[in-house]
């Protein structure tokens, strides 16, 4: 029996021991058994749209270079010179034909090959230039424009790993007639709390009404009529989960943009059909195990990753994803929706950050208040967005990787489509 997770179907009750959110030893196990053995999000195809485009960022605790080489292929290299270790890219983004280390002038092309270095002759005939290129990420694959890497060379392919989550990435990726793009810029922030709290918070409908009251008051004042009548939490396999609803939770577009909104909906229906367009309507909070969240909730889409620096401190990066070639007036409305809800300076996320930090402060009493209860909806086959199956999926997979205990999935009723068409929804 795991010391961290109690998954008792007889009561029924699901509990997590709070030491999982506090102990340094747990974090060390997570690094080797989870982060080094999973697919981790690197970036979106649109961030390296052109050959020579690169991004330098941290993934899984390593500095990496995400680049599209001159041959058009996307690659990821460890951002460290093979000679003595200097980081090669000091800028967070740019365009480069060559990467030259400023320490000893070793120069690499954007496919990672060592192409020149001063005084190569002195190394003699045994110098192994072929094998002194940049160290690539062991595995790199993309799905629907989302690039993931793994530090486990033997991991199963990404599509298999994604299991049921692939469909939900598709429902977002297909929203743009010319594909999707990351809006330039990112929101990088921290939270003084364990990273797993943000997994939970990213797909937790239950906190919406109490915690985000000030956001919803604003949206109501802007003329929104909440029309969420159906919701569902779904186990997507392999620790991934999603909560979906049939409504809209964002600030309505200004009335003068109604013709643009209708035209966009018409284009979507013509391209993907009524039934799929109806599926793409509504909201989705998706987490891909272990640390990638995509939330399409308030008329704007955020994608975020987060990584533990310490058990009580994580670093978060969030981006805005939007249809490429979107009409500038719709993009402006989308930005307003994004800024008011998402991001560490809006009317919602700061309250989430505060709540998570307050949980972490409370965990100092974890020897006395030992368990977190994550039982909502346990025993029902159609849990709603306000239930907690989505968190239990994460914790069961987490528990399996840390302790070897095989999880028993909860029985799920088949998902009935919320509507045959947007009009019917």
């Amino acid at each position: 029996m795991s010391e961290y997770v109690i998954d008792d179907r007889t009561v029924p009750r699901f509990r997590v021991n709070r030491k999982a959110l506090v102990d340094q030893e747990v974090l060390e196990l997570e690094k080797s058994k989870i982060f080094d053995k999973s697919w981790l999000y690197v970036g979106h195809d649109s961030e390296v749209a052109n050959p020579r485009d690169f991004r330098a960022r941290n993934v899984g605790g390593r500095p990496v270079i995400f680049v599209r080489s001159d041959d058009g292929r996307v690659r990821v290299f460890m951002n460290t010179c093979p000679h003595r270790g200097t980081t090669l890219c000091q800028e967070p983004s740019g365009s480069a034909r060559f990467l030259k280390c400023y320490y000893h002038a070793w120069t690499f092309d954007n496919a990672g090959r060592l192409v020149s270095l001063p005084d190569e002759e002195s190394y003699g005939p045994t110098f192994d230039r072929e094998n002194l290129g940049l160290a690539p990420a062991p595995r790199l694959e993309q799905y629907a424009g989302f690039w993931f890497l793994s530090f486990d060379p033997d991991i199963v392919d990404l599509r298999t790993y994604l299991a049921g989550a692939g469909e939900y990435l598709d429902l977002v990726a297909d929203q743009g007639a010319s594909g999707m793009t990351v809006v330039p810029g990112s929101q990088d922030y921290s939270t003084a709390a364990n990273w797993k709290l943000l997994v939970e918070n990213s797909m937790d409908g239950y906190h919406g009404a109490p915690l985000h009251q000030r956001y919803f008051e604003m949206v109501i004042d802007a003329g929104a009529t909440f029309n969420v009548t159906k919701s569902r939490g779904l186990d997507l396999g392999n620790g991934h989960a999603v909560v979906i609803t049939n409504g809209e939770l964002g600030r309505p577009a200004p009335p003068e943009l109604a013709p643009l909104v209708d035209a966009k909906r018409g284009e979507l229906v013509a391209r993907v059909g009524e039934e799929r367009a109806a599926k793409m309507h509504g909201t989705r909070n998706l987490v891909i195990f272990p640390n990638f969240a995509l939330v399409d909730l308030v008329g704007a889409i955020t994608i975020r990753t987060f990584f533990p620096v310490r058990p009580d401190y994580m670093e978060v990066t969030a981006w805005e994803l939007a249809p490429a070639d979107e009409d500038p007036r719709l993009r402006r409305t989308r930005a307003d929706s994004f800024n008011t809800f998402w991001g560490p300076a809006g009317l919602a996320t700061p309250d989430d950050i505060e709540a998570l930090q307050a949980c972490q402060r409370g965990f100092a009493a974890h020897r006395e208040a030992v368990w977190s209860d994550i039982s909502r909806g346990l025993g029902t086959e159609s849990p709603t967005a306000n239930d907690e199956i989505q968190m239990r999926c994460f914790w069961r997979r987490w528990n399996e990787l840390l302790t070897g205990e095989r999880p028993i999935p909860e029985p799920q009723a088949p998902l009935e489509p919320f509507a045959a068409s947007v009009a019917a929804g």
Binding site: P92, V183, P184, G185, S186, Q187, D188, Y189, S190, T191, A192, L211, Q213, R214, E217, M218, D221, A222, Y313, E315, W319, E320, P328, R331, R332, A335, D336, F338, N339, T340, G343, P344, A345, G346, L347, T349, P350, D351, I353, E354, A355, Q357, R361
Partner: protein, 170 residues
């Protein structure tokens, strides 16, 4: 006095007026007198905080942290003064330092203002500093002599680490 001296004196006088305005504005913010602070915006005035990775970005093209029009500002202030802004219950202690004030006349009798800021925010016994430059556009009017056409707080930080968030008025 030469015209160079005259214009320098005029600019110095203007800078003094603007400094006094900025000090009074920050006093309102630090005292959480936000219902008075919001009166310092012109009707179409906005508060902008660019995304820290692209401090010179256009709000129509890049991701911002804050891009509040009057409607959102009103809700932000109401939430902070009420009981629904959980990130500020209890209220943080906030202290603005404003310096290196530079002013320049702009079009339409507006005034372009640049100033350096350091804001310390204390919450749950932890103090964080936020450093950056104000880039405001002001016009004359309002209860303190000037109104914000555009209030812009540009952070020097590349990330809100370890600050985590901006839940107060920066």
């Amino acid at each position: 006095m030469s015209t160079v001296d005259e214009s320098r004196a005029t600019l110095s006088g203007l800078r003094l007026e603007i400094e006094e305005f900025l000090f009074a504005e920050c006093e309102l913010i630090d005292a959480w007198r936000l219902d008075e602070w919001i009166e310092l915006f012109s009707p179409f005035g906005r508060w902008l905080v660019p995304g820290p990775t692209l401090p010179d970005g256009d709000p129509n093209e890049t991701l911002y942290l804050i891009d509040d029009d009057a409607f959102i500002l009103h809700h932000r202030v109401n939430g902070l003064l009420g009981r629904t802004a959980h990130a500020e219950r209890p209220k943080s202690r906030v202290r603005h330092l404003v310096g290196n004030v530079r002013v320049r006349p702009a079009e339409h009798e507006q005034i372009s203002v640049r100033a350096n800021f350091v804001v310390h925010r204390t919450r749950a016994s932890i103090t964080h500093a936020y450093v950056g430059e104000y880039q405001h556009l002001l016009e004359r009017g309002g209860p303190l002599g000037f109104l914000f056409v555009e209030r812009r707080s540009v952070l020097d930080h590349e990330a809100l680490q370890p600050q985590s968030s901006i839940s107060f008025i920066l």
